[in-house]
């Protein structure tokens, strides 16, 4: 590694630690929120430096789109009084001291364990590379997620679905009132929304051979939905069509897995000739579902009809 690259990495690492410290100790929750959003962006740079561009892409899309809007909206719910956390800055007491010591020990153990790893550690990359020709795709990350370890991914999509169900169990609240969007915001939405749909499709397609895939595409799509919702709040209940779209990706994935069993194979065993197609089908269905899931998480459990914020 060159000195310039090392300088960049050290700068990133220092910044990340500094940001975490500040966002945990600031009593003004708005500032903490902004630092959290910035933290997400820098984390995505860190993933790039760690040569995990797929994760970087996911972090960039989720961090700057969905999570950013979500935490700012959460701040609105706290209201003027909740925006300042009186319990901060953290004062030292016995519980916090022992907690801190515990975390320090954990950190030391981790650091030491990582340092004790043999040099040139490759994990399972050799096995993965050997299996790549039968995976149906050329991006090893997609091959791992959608083929080698598709069982994990199937269950992870279920986890995302559960998040929406969890939101629906909470009390419904009135739709947030909003002033008319105004010409500039209107223009922004008009230009960005189609672009986001195109980029989402591009990421989905690129996932087969380059960084990208269902989750990244869905995050961009969801960000488009959030932008639209911010400009013109809409109702997104648990209507049958919404439920159908939310369950669609998981249902398609599971159905393909079961169909392969009926066809004489094992659960989720993609025949290598059709693996590419099947993966694309699963990813396309998952993209739509995950996008709506993320959007539903942002919209929350909103009651139908024009509501007003509590005064």
């Amino acid at each position: 590694m060159t000195a310039d690259a090392a300088a960049l990495d050290i700068l990133l690492a220092v910044l990340l630690v500094f940001l975490v410290w500040r966002l945990l100790t600031l009593s003004d929750l708005f500032k903490a929120t902004i630092l959290f959003i910035v933290f997400g962006l820098l984390l995505s740079l860190a993933w790039v430096r760690l040569r995990a561009p797929d994760v970087a892409l996911a972090e960039a899309a989720i961090g700057s789109g969905v999570t950013g809007a979500l935490v700012l909206d959460a701040l609105r719910r706290l209201g003027a009084h909740g925006a300042v956390d009186e319990a901060r800055p953290l004062r030292l007491n016995l519980a916090r001291l022992s907690g801190g010591l515990l975390v320090a020990c954990l950190g030391a153990i981790l650091l030491w364990s990582v340092l004790s790893l043999p040099a040139g550690w490759r994990g399972l990359s050799a096995e993965a590379m050997a299996a790549m020709p039968h995976s149906g795709v050329t991006n090893p990350v997609t091959a791992s997620l959608l083929n080698f370890r598709s069982h994990d991914t199937l269950l992870e999509i279920a986890v995302l679905m559960l998040a929406v169900l969890g939101v629906w169990t909470l009390d419904a609240e009135p739709k947030p009132s909003a002033e008319p969007a105004g010409p500039i915001l209107d223009l922004l939405v008009r230009i960005l929304l189609p672009l986001m749909v195109v980029v989402a499709g591009y990421l989905l397609w690129a996932g087969g051979h380059a960084p990208g895939g269902a989750f990244q595409g869905a995050a961009v799509l969801a960000a488009g939905g959030i932008l639209l919702h911010l400009a013109r709040p809409f109702y997104l209940g648990n209507h049958v069509i919404i439920r159908l779209v939310i369950g669609f990706g998981f249902a398609v994935f599971l159905a393909i897995g079961v169909m392969l069993v009926v066809g004489g194979g094992r659960f989720l065993e993609f025949p290598s000739r059709h693996a590419g197609t099947l993966i694309l089908v699963v990813e396309a269905a998952a993209t739509i579902s995950i996008a709506l899931i993320l959007l539903a998480l942002f919209v929350g459990n909103v009651r139908e009809g024009a509501g007003r914020d509590a005064p």
Binding site: D4, I37, A60, L75, A206
Partner: protein, 91 residues
Amino acid sequence: MTGFMMFMAATVLASVALGLCRVLLGPTRADAMLAAQLLGTGAVAVLLLLSHATARSHLADVALVVALLASVVSVAFVRRLKPVGGHNGGA
């Protein structure tokens, strides 16, 4: 050449990170928002520079996504929060 680009990436990152002091200084929420936006653009520049320096053209996709979604947070801010609030804002 790649060393130069890497150095420039580090410089851009350092300078926009310096701008983050504005988040801590305030005084208004709008100021903090501006600093975050600057960092977003800085991240796009860093990603493009890294993409060239490390010869990984797909990093430009990450930059594209960051640029595409950069406005979502600002829009959420102006639509859901008052720009002058906060406990020391609006002073």
